[in-house]
Symmetry: D2
Subunit: 404 residues, 4 copies
């Protein structure tokens, strides 16, 4: 079957989640199945609101889930934990989808964990580390294909929702397709897992979304490949909480020519993502993409700091306190502060479903390479410089209106 | 001199402030003169930032101030009070402009106070209440013309920065030019002062800005007149604090399809504006324009309340606490809250100068009637339905880019 | 049976809740039964912590519940509503006590609703309004005795947790026992329900707690009666949220000789209590007892305002925002603000159980009249002037240490 | 002159400030002289409020200031900087005391900087580092005596308000007087400056206050010396902002048996103290004394973190955001958060004057050794375990009432 074929038509869209037993993945699956069962509505989904809802997108009911993980604990257990600790999902919803979760858990394969830093623990399972990188990629690719064949899937979308990795040192060597493929062939032991998952997906023609701050499709080598092969992809680091607010609020200060002297952002959260980010190496990418938003919108900002701290009792709730010290007319110093209290995965999950639907749509219509209309979903939208949330949304709305 | 003449060229722009001894007026004058003297910069001015700064606008140094008020206390005293209570302006700046203030104070005439409610006190001076409405208008018009002639002014802009009036009952009778002029001729004793100031300005061909929530140019009769006579005007109720934040933040909830269950806004402020707004009649218009912003951006909002309370110790500082209770995916309830602490007049003053410059520009290029490109400056932009701050700014930027 | 008899010994303590189907009552009953069933712990109960826990208090397992209400909706339904809207109690806990609730609901009698203002709705049931006041009291007294006899209760404590009533006009006429009893005999139609419940309890020798801001035992006539008859009683208006914080925080400003210029308190809540308090008459008492705390601790406070607003989506959650503007050394103005987000009834319920246990203890040891050692539980502790929470707690701790 | 002599009577109290050109010192001197000049009042001073004000304390007008510093920039310049950056003091007050500041600056001697870590910069002056420790102490002692003699001072109080030092390693060796004096004699190069200042003061019979988290009088050796020689002393780390609030608020959670799951404290400040605390070594002591308060009041706290970050634009303003996640009845999770915004030095300065007056009083009445009645002033009151602010104040009030 050649590439263009599987871009035509088809209602069964496969969703391959890398990190399929994590919070975001679990909540996405629970939500999709609860919607399919008529147990919840689609609040929080951008694709269910005008003008985007006018696009002819794959139905939520038709999404078929599978994925990789390194954590052996089952999806059912993960969902129960979340219900217990966060009340999201609630007990009724969980009961309605429990059987679906059990079935989907059977389709989760063991992934690779090379260079994943603090995410890997004693309990982790993983593809044998002694395998050559090329062979690891082949195994991943096999997992994708087996899933596609077994489930009669017309189009497969791969989404990275695995734990944040440390950033690779000297990523320049992967800056074009040749460099990247040479590294693979030479069995470069510093390639991080996310790049392997992305390579396997795009080289097989599967649309790819990087929901995390990990490297994955951000290196030039993958971008080259996707452009040449015309496979749609986008990332990175979904914008769900404090950074979303920043991207809506900072343009106000800019627009009114108010001088931001300091913007302090302090995030506390208690889930596994928070625990992994306690590790400085794993946190580096996240802090960078969070900080860049302000630097870009407010180039003359005086001071810009983001902290992420792990506070176990908060479980999946992420609380951010931001303090903005700014100067206006006649050197008057003023302040604004906000506190954001959100359920991290409940904010992320509908966006996973949105992104799957939108990138499948792009694929169906033959739009390969980066997908700038998806910029509003990301803290660090690859290839898009504008961080103003309103303007990013306009990119999506224009796409929706033209495409109809 | 006919109308078109005084639209051509000229550098001396007159600024006639109705409410010329109030906080906003005082701070605008102090700021303009301090800029002229090189004692402060233009932070907070929208017209001093790209792309708007590329327009060929009248220079701040050339603005000539005059106005009406009903409070006999001099501009110098007002500025001293502000310096003392708020540290804005600071002592150095005040010293640098004190002589200018004294000179400008000599150009402030006694205004009319018909139907101004709680704004009128025992100390107030006012145009004789027994005069016929038509004669009051003539006196106002005379004041405008005398000022223009004495100071060699090429173009005169009238800005209403007087205290908020109660809303008129049955404003429908002023809904077209005929109705309005009939009311004037029949000496309708319920016409509020702001309408008289607006009528006198526009009927004389002077561009008019309504910075307040008062009626003024919002009635159909004035809008008709301005359209027919091709005089630019805009309003109402400048957007400086909590509502500004709302207009930047609410689109984020809409854009992400999050359901706002309740949005509580609680404002406390200690200046004279706050005191006048303690009176329910005077507050009505303000509360309406503040509330409408959310209703428009979030049509499905569950609960939307705005409170304004008078807290004397805060002086000119306005503190707003907003609490937003919203629902996301999987019926998850979340919250955001913010506190905004701003010097009310320091936020307002640069916008007065911006609006003067931009409406003078429109007048110079013959753009009469409502000026939708100025929507971003107002809580209730007359004739513009979109309350999204980003989109409103785009109207201004498009104007600036085309006009150049 | 004479009065002293039922003060001796006995493990079965009856708890008669006036307003037995309200939020506070429901949560108290759910909590007590869940503790008895080993399904929850006693976090939040003052009597379960040293030094108070050393007193020989009636066991929670032995509390027998009954009460009056005017709302026909059953206790089970009320608890289900709370579970559904607030997740407190959670589903597991509710399931464990559902049968107990059904049994207790059978012991709830129809109460009187005279002068209860906005609390009375179309659905309300009530003791026939045409009965003479004296007869209403007799009926209430009968309900108490029947309950006591049917359930083999050794000591009965009556707790008022009914909706807040409007304050009576001219309460002076009830200022001593004679005046109060004359009013009853002369069928004074302005006596509010709470006074009738309190009179019936104390005249029958039952200890009485007023958890609400309603009049009840605050009038001199009831206090006389309780003193003469040596029946312990205390009130009023339990201190659970914002006011609790104030009583802990305001002494800090006093102790450091910092001058509070303004203290703004803004409460939003969404339960039935909030709805009733939307009515100005019903709210008056609440606002008074909330405001008095600061006036007493900070006699030189410049400005002190409390607002309570009804925000339906919050259900039983009460959010308070307090803003404190204060002056320190060298006339430096500073600010503190806090946001309190609590489940109103979950904060109140353990205190109901504490108060029952402590007032039963006082009764058992023959301590009649007001019980100042309970001051820390109340916003307006009858007969106690000190509002400093720490000092109030010391009264309780001293009592506990001596009494042992 | 023997020790007991200079304890008798006398009105001229000398105040020797170690760190005399720092923010706290400057503000203390400005405040005392402004009070003496009748230019400001005593708001913020605990000794000016009942019951403490009834003690016969040395008058503020009679305080004579001198001190050590390592920063050559004059006191006048420091005060001007503070006025400019923070508006505290304001220009009028500064003008009134400028001559006093210049005169006092002449009495500031160069101090020692051994082991002061990040506080020492290229601009610093310092007592020759190659001197033996014993000789450094002699020089300090000489400075104290010269000052006393030149200014006819009856009693000299030494107050450490110098930058926070790193904590010494192995402080056990200084745990008794012998060990400490042996270290001095053996020229131990790890003794920090604060211990030298404290030793010189107490060995000369001068009461000593440690306003900072530095070691100074906290080691056993100094405590022994002060006890044996009967010299009053107290410390450490003045409680002025976030920690003050914690010590008032945490007892409320304890008193109501509410379980604090997490208490996050995030401080941002922009003065030199903040800059020095950027250095981890210098911050260690501060973080410890801040953290201990909660651990002591809430022994079962789940999670307790304090962060201090440097945010230059805030200048002397310290903003703290605290987030408290707690559990109540029926496992209900609730939250409280507060933001404190204070001028750090304006909060500290009145306490310096209070402490000087109170420790001089103790000295006058022959009370040597630790002064527990001063516990309420400190984050880590030496020798006092109770961190409840109310109870600490009671120690002071009891002292004031007895002593009268
Ligand atoms: N609001 C949000 O939750 C949000 C927003 C933006 C980005 N993200 C990012 O999404 C990612 C997932 O977040 P989460 O809260 O679900 O975290 P999580 O820790 O709950 O889940 C991550 C999952 O990835 C698995 N995993 C780790 N390394 C893997 C590997 N090499 N291969 C396969 N599986 C692997 C883990 O075992 C775990 O099950 C994180 O990178 C996070 O930063 C989340
Ligand atoms: N950030 C802001 O300050 C802001 C923002 C939006 C709108 N506004 C509006 O701007 C207006 C002015 O605000 P302010 O803070 O300067 O108030 P202010 O009370 O300080 O000044 C109002 C001035 O108007 C004068 N006045 C009242 N009635 C008059 C009349 N009939 N004719 C002439 N003068 C009259 C008063 O004497 C006073 O000097 C208010 O309507 C306010 O609602 C202010
Ligand atoms: N944190 C708290 O919840 C808190 C704190 C302090 C005081 N209170 C007070 O406790 C009381 C109860 O609060 P709630 O939240 O449970 O309110 P609620 O409205 O849920 O319950 C009140 C109950 O009283 C019943 N009632 C009304 N009038 C009655 C009458 N005359 N006789 C018998 N029953 C009557 C109502 O039908 C209702 O069932 C209120 O007065 C409230 O102000 C509550
Ligand atoms: N609210 C408060 O301001 C507050 C509260 C509690 C404790 N403190 C403590 O008080 C101290 C002073 O705070 P600040 O804000 O004035 O700091 P600062 O940095 O403004 O002043 C410290 C001064 O000490 C001087 N110094 C440093 N090392 C010295 C040495 N070895 N000998 C003599 N002088 C020396 C510095 O040159 C500087 O002038 C700090 O330790 C701080 O932690 C301050
Ligand atoms: Na919350
Ligand atoms: Na502030």
């Amino acid at each position: 079957m050649n590439r263009s074929d599987h871009r035509l038509a088809g209602d069964r869209t496969g969703v391959w989640l890398v990190g399929a037993r994590g919070n975001v993945a679990t909540m996405s699956i629970v939500g999709a199945r609860a919607i399919a069962a008529g147990k919840t509505d689609t609040t929080g989904m951008v694709t269910k609101r005008e003008p985007v809802s006018s696009l002819d997108l794959p139905p939520i009911e038709g999404l078929v889930f599978g994925g990789h993980d390194i954590d052996p604990e089952s999806l059912v257990t993960q969902a129960e934990l979340q219900c217990d600790r966060n009340d999201v999902p609630d007990e009724t919803t969980l009961a309605a989808v429990r059987d679906d979760l059990a079935a989907i858990d059977d389709r989760i394969e063991v992934g690779t964990a090379v260079n994943c830093g603090a995410a890997v623990t004693e309990e982790s399972e993983r593809i044998d580390d002694s395998l050559a990188i090329r062979d690891v990629i082949e195994q991943i690719r096999d997992d994708y294909e087996t899933f596609r064949n077994h489930h009669g899937i017309d189009r497969l979308v791969v989404v990275n929702v695995a734990s944040t990795e440390p950033e690779p040192t000297e990523p320049e060597r992967y800056d074009d397709r040749d460099g990247l493929e040479r590294a693979i062939d030479e069995n470069d032991r510093e390639l991080p897992a996310s790049v392997l998952y992305a390579y396997a997906a795009i080289d097989s023609g599967h649309p790819f979304v990087n929901f995390t701050p990990s490297t994955a499709n951000a290196v030039g080598g993958i971008r080259d490949l996707a452009a040449t092969e015309s496979v749609p992809h986008m990332g990175r680091d979904a914008k769900t909480g404090e950074t979303l607010v920043k991207s809506a609020l900072a343009p106000m200060f800019a627009g009114r020519n108010l001088q931001v002297l300091s913007w302090e952002g302090h995030n506390i959260l208690g889930n596994k993502d928070g625990l992994v980010l306690e590790d400085d190496a794993n946190a580096a990418g996240k802090l960078a993409s969070k900080g860049d938003v302000l630097d870009s919108i407010l180039p003359e900002i005086g001071h810009n700091r983001v902290r992420i701290d792990y506070t176990p009792s908060l479980a999946d709730w992420k609380t951010a306190w931001d303090y903005i010290h700014f100067e206006g007319f006649l050197e008057t110093e003023m302040t604004m502060q906000f506190t954001w209290e959100g359920s991290d995965s409940a904010l992320a999950a509908p966006l996973v479903l949105d992104l799957v639907r939108l990138i499948a749509h792009a694929d169906r219509y033959g739009d390969g390479g980066l997908q700038p209309q998806l910029a509003s979903f990301f803290k660090a939208p690859i290839g898009v410089d504008d961080h103003d949330f309103s303007r990013q949304l306009d990119l999506l709305y224009d796409y929706a209106r033209q495409d109809r």
